[in-house]
C-alpha cells in the first residue's frame, strides 16, 4: 500500500467508450489505419520490396504514431506548447461548466497518473489545479493534499510534504495516510518528538497499525540517540573549555601581554584576548599547548621581510632557546636565500615594541618564555618574530625605517 496515490471516489475514465459508440470508434479506427497507410509518408513511391518495408515500418510504429494524435493521446505531452487541438481537447476534459468537485477529481486522476509514472512535478501541478477548485468535500481535499504530500516527499521536499500532510489532516483528521506521511516527514527532518506526536495521532485512529508502531519505535530510538549526542557534545565542549581555561590561567600567571588583532571589531579585555588566542586553531592544527608538567608550547611565526617569506614553527617550548630553533630553520639554506645570507649565526632576531613600531633585538640564547614576558612584547594571535641578516644594507634601512616611523 505504501506508495500508491489514492483514487477514493469513482473514477471517470474507462467505461464510457463501450457499447454502440465503441463499434463506431472501431470502424473509425480501421478507416484511419487505411488512410494512414496510404499517407504520403508511408505511401509507396517505388514498387516491390520497398513498399512492404514502409508498411512494416508503419505497422511497427503505429501505436506510437497514434499516441501523437491529440484525440488518442494518453497523456498531455510535456512539450505540448501551442498545439491548439490539444488545448481544445483539454477544454473538453476540464469543462468549466462542470461542477468544481468533478474538475478537482479529474485533476486528481491526472495527478495520480503522473505519479504512477514518477513524474512528481507534473503530479504536483495537477494536484495544485485540483486544490484551486472551490468545493466543499473535505475528504477529496484531504486526498489531494495527501497525494501532493506524497509527490513532494518523493522529490525530497520534506517540509512541503509535511505542510501538505498537516493540511490534509485538517480536512480529514482520521486520514491515516496523511498522518503516517507527516510522521515520516518528521523523521526525515529529524524532528523526532514531532514524529512521535503524529504517530500517537495515528494510533488513536488505528491502535495496532504495525507501520505506525514501528515508526514510533524508530523515532523514540533516534530521539534518544540525538539527545545523547547533544549531551555528549555539550560535555565535550565543556571539557575543552576547561582545558582552555587552564591554559589561559597558565598564560596569565606568566604575565604575558596580549594585544588586539587588526580584525578585532571592538576592544577586548586581556582575558578575552588570551582566550581567543588559546581557542584559535591555526589551519595546520597547531595551538598553544599546556603539557603535564605545566609548561607551555607555542606556535611561533618567523618573518623574513627581505624576501617576503616566513616560517611557521608548530611547537616552540617556552623554555627552549631561539638559537636552537635557528639551528633547525637554517640547517639547509632556504631556497629563496640566493646569496647565502641566512645562517644560524648570521641572522638577528627582532620583535616589534609594544608601543610604537621600533624593533627590539632578541638575544638568541634567551628562552621564548623570557621574551614573551618582556614588558615590551605583545602577543597578537601567534607570537611573531622578525629575522634579518646581520650587517646587510637591507637590515640597516629596515631598522631605521621602523625606528623613525613612530
Amino acid at each position: 500500500m505504501a506508495e500508491n496515490t489514492e483514487s477514493n471516489v469513482g473514477t471517470t475514465d474507462g467505461e464510457k467508450g463501450a457499447g454502440k459508440t465503441g463499434e463506431d470508434l472501431n470502424t473509425m479506427f480501421d478507416r484511419y489505419l487505411d488512410e494512414a497507410a496510404s499517407h504520403p509518408k508511408y505511401a509507396n513511391k517505388k514498387k516491390g520490396d520497398f513498399l512492404v518495408k514502409e508498411n512494416e515500418e508503419f505497422l511497427k510504429n503505429w501505436e506510437e504514431e497514434i499516441d501523437k494524435i491529440p484525440v488518442f493521446m494518453k497523456e498531455i505531452p510535456e512539450d505540448a506548447g501551442d498545439n491548439s487541438l490539444v488545448a481544445a481537447l483539454q477544454a473538453i476534459k476540464y469543462d468549466e461548466d462542470d461542477p468544481p468537485e468533478e474538475l478537482a477529481k479529474t485533476h486528481k486522476d491526472d495527478g495520480n497518473a503522473w505519479f504512477k509514472k514518477k513524474k512528481y512535478k507534473m503530479a504536483i501541478t495537477a494536484y495544485d489545479e485540483g486544490l484551486k477548485q472551490k468545493f466543499e468535500d473535505g475528504e477529496l481535499r484531504a486526498v489531494l493534499y495527501t497525494n501532493r504530500a506524497a509527490a513532494n516527499y518523493h522529490l525530497g521536499n520534506n517540509r512541503s510534504s509535511l505542510n501538505d500532510a498537516t493540511e490534509a489532516v485538517k480536512h480529514n483528521p482520521s486520514h491515516m495516510k496523511a498522518l503516517i506521511r507527516a510522521a515520516d516527514c518528521c523523521m526525515k527532518l529529524e524532528e523526532y518528538s514531532e514524529a512521535i506526536t503524529w504517530c500517537d495521532k495515528a494510533l488513536k485512529i488505528s491502535a495496532d497499525d504495525k507501520r505506525v508502531l514501528d515508526l514510533r519505535l524508530a523515532a523514540t530510538k533516534q530521539q534518544k540517540i540525538t539527545e545523547r549526542n547533544n549531551r555528549k557534545r555539550k560535555t565535550e565542549e565543556k571539557a575543552a573549555l576547561a582545558r582552555r581555561m587552564k591554559i589561559v590561567e597558565a598564560i596569565k600567571s606568566r604575565t604575558i601581554q596580549f594585544g588586539q588583532l587588526n580584525d578585532d571589531q571592538q576592544a577586548k579585555s586581556q582575558d578575552q584576548l588570551i582566550l581567543d588566542a588559546v581557542s584559535s586553531q591555526h589551519p595546520t592544527g597547531a595551538a598553544i599547548v599546556l603539557d603535564e608538567s605545566g609548561n607551555l608550547t607555542w606556535p611561533v611565526t618567523f618573518l623574513y621581510p627581505e624576501y617576503g617569506q616566513s616560517d611557521f614553527v608548530r611547537e616552540f617550548h617556552e623554555d627552549s632557546i631561539f638559537s636552537d630553533h635557528l639551528q633547525v630553520l637554517f640547517e639547509e639554506p632556504a631556497p629563496w636565500d640566493k646569496q647565502g645570507m641566512y645562517k644560524p649565526h648570521t641572522v638577528q632576531i627582532y620583535f616589534h615594541h609594544s608601543e610604537g613600531t621600533e624593533l627590539v633585538e632578541v638575544n638568541p640564547e634567551s628562552t621564548l618564555r623570557s621574551i614573551l614576558q618582556d614588558p615590551r612584547y605583545l602577543v597578537a594571535g601567534v607570537p611573531l618574530f622578525v629575522i634579518l641578516p646581520r650587517g646587510c644594507p637591507f637590515t640597516e634601512t629596515y631598522l631605521k625605517r621602523y625606528a623613525t616611523l613612530c
Partner: protein, 359 residues
C-alpha cells in the same frame, strides 16, 4: 443532626431541582459532615442521600457540583479496609462509577480532576478496583482503559485546565489487577510505552508516582520481562534515569549503558520522593528475577548507576533496598535450577529462622 430521620428530610433540599439557596446551604452542611468519621459513616449509611449527592455532581451550578465532588472524595478517602459495608454502598454505586469515568474523559468538564481523585480513592481497595474494571469492560460503556490512558498521556487533554494527574493513581491501582496489567502490556498496542516518559515528569509528584507505580506493577509479570527490556519498550532506562545523577562517568563505564543515561548534564537531579525511589528500585529488582532479564539489566551497566545513587542517597529507609539490588547485580549467577528467583523454593527451616529474626 446525627439522626438518620433528620437526614431523610434533608434529602429534599439536595435534589437538583431544589431552591438554589437552600441547596447551597444543605450542600455546605453535608460537606461539613464529611470531615468527621461519624459524619461519613452516617452519610454512607443513607442510600437516598448518597444518591442525591451523586446527582448533585451534575448540578449546573459549578460551586454545587464541585462541593458534591469534594464530599464524595472525603467519603471515599475515609476507608482503608475492604470490609466496611457502608463503603461498599459507595463503591457498588454503578451510577457513581459511570458518572466519574465519563467526567474524567469529558474534555470540557470542570470536575475531571475531582472525578480522578474519587476514582483514585475508590480503586485503592481491590473491591473498588474490580468494580471500576467491570464498568470499563462493559461493551456498551463509552469509556474504556484505552480512553483513560489516552486522556492521561495527552497534553492539555482537559480544556478547563484539569491536569488529570490523579488518573495516574487510578492506573496504578488498576494495574494491581491482572486484567489491568494485561491491558497495559498489550504487545500489539502502544500503552506501556506511553507511560514511560512520566517517570521523569517534573510537573507533578502525583503523576510521577502513578506512572512509576503502574510500571512497577507491570514488572511483576515475569513473562513480559524480555519484552519490557527489549527495544520495543526499553523500560530500564526510564526506571534508572530518576535515580541517575550528574556524576561524570568514564567512557568505559558508559559503554553499553542505554543512551538515555549517558553524558547526563551537571544539573541532572535525582527523584526526591522516597516512595517513588523505592518503587523504582523494586521494579528493577523484579526485572532481575529471570536469568535473561538479569543479564540485560547487568549488561546495561545498571550497577554503575545504582553505585553512584547509593553514594548519594541519605534516606536510611532506602539503604536496604539499594543494597539488595546491588547484591543482585554483583553476585555470581545462581546454580542451574535456581535461576528464576521468583520460583526458588525457600526451605521451611530457613523461612522459620527468617521469621524469628524479624520478630
Amino acid at each position: 443532626m446525627a439522626d438518620p430521620a433528620v437526614l431523610d428530610e434533608f434529602v429534599d433540599f439536595l435534589s437538583v431541582s431544589a431552591r438554589p439557596d437552600l441547596k447551597a446551604t444543605a450542600m455546605q452542611q453535608v460537606m461539613g459532615m464529611t470531615s468527621s468519621g461519624d459524619g461519613t459513616q452516617l452519610l454512607l449509611s443513607h442510600a437516598k442521600l448518597l444518591a442525591a449527592l451523586v446527582d448533585l455532581t451534575q448540578d449546573p451550578n459549578e460551586k454545587i457540583s464541585a462541593d458534591a465532588y469534594k464530599s464524595i472524595i472525603n467519603l471515599a478517602a475515609e476507608f482503608e479496609s475492604n470490609e466496611d459495608e457502608n463503603l461498599n454502598n459507595l463503591i457498588s454505586n454503578k451510577k457513581l462509577l459511570s458518572v466519574l469515568l465519563k467526567t474524567v474523559v469529558e474534555k470540557s468538564s470542570c470536575n475531571a480532576d475531582n472525578a480522578c481523585k474519587v476514582l483514585s480513592n475508590l480503586t485503592r481497595i481491590p473491591f473498588g478496583c474490580r468494580n471500576v474494571m467491570e464498568c470499563l469492560g462493559e461493551t456498551d460503556f463509552p469509556v474504556d482503559l484505552v480512553k483513560l490512558v489516552e486522556a492521561f498521556c495527552a497534553k492539555r487533554y482537559n480544556e478547563k485546565g484539569a491536569s488529570l494527574d490523579y488518573l495516574g493513581m487510578v492506573l496504578s491501582n488498576l494495574t494491581q489487577m491482572p486484567e489491568g496489567r494485561e491491558f497495559v502490556l498489550d504487545k500489539e498496542r502502544c500503552v506501556v510505552q506511553r507511560l514511560l516518559p512520566y517517570t521523569q515528569y517534573e510537573g507533578s509528584t502525583v503523576r510521577r508516582m502513578g506512572a512509576v507505580a503502574a510500571l512497577r506493577n507491570c514488572c511483576f509479570e515475569t513473562d513480559y520481562h524480555d519484552w519490557l527490556l527489549s527495544d520495543a519498550v526499553d523500560i530500564l532506562p526510564h526506571l534508572l534515569l530518576p535515580l541517575a545523577g550528574p556524576e561524570e562517568l568514564s567512557e568505559e563505564e558508559m559503554e553499553g549503558m542505554p543512551e538515555d543515561l549517558q553524558y547526563l548534564e551537571e544539573d541532572k537531579r535525582r527523584e526526591e520522593n522516597s516512595d517513588i525511589k523505592k518503587m523504582l528500585l523494586e521494579a528493577v529488582m523484579k526485572l532481575c528475577a529471570t536469568k535473561s532479564g538479569r543479564k540485560t539489566v547487568k549488561d546495561k551497566q545498571t550497577y554503575i548507576i545504582i553505585r553512584e545513587y547509593h553514594r548519594w542517597e541519605e534516606d536510611p529507609s532506602l539503604q536496604q533496598p539499594i543494597e539488595n539490588l546491588i547484591q543482585l547485580l554483583i553476585m555470581d549467577e545462581p546454580e542451574p535450577g535456581m535461576e528464576n528467583l521468583n520460583e526458588v523454593e525457600v526451605p521451611e527451616n530457613v523461612v522459620k529462622a527468617l521469621e524469628q529474626a524479624q520478630s
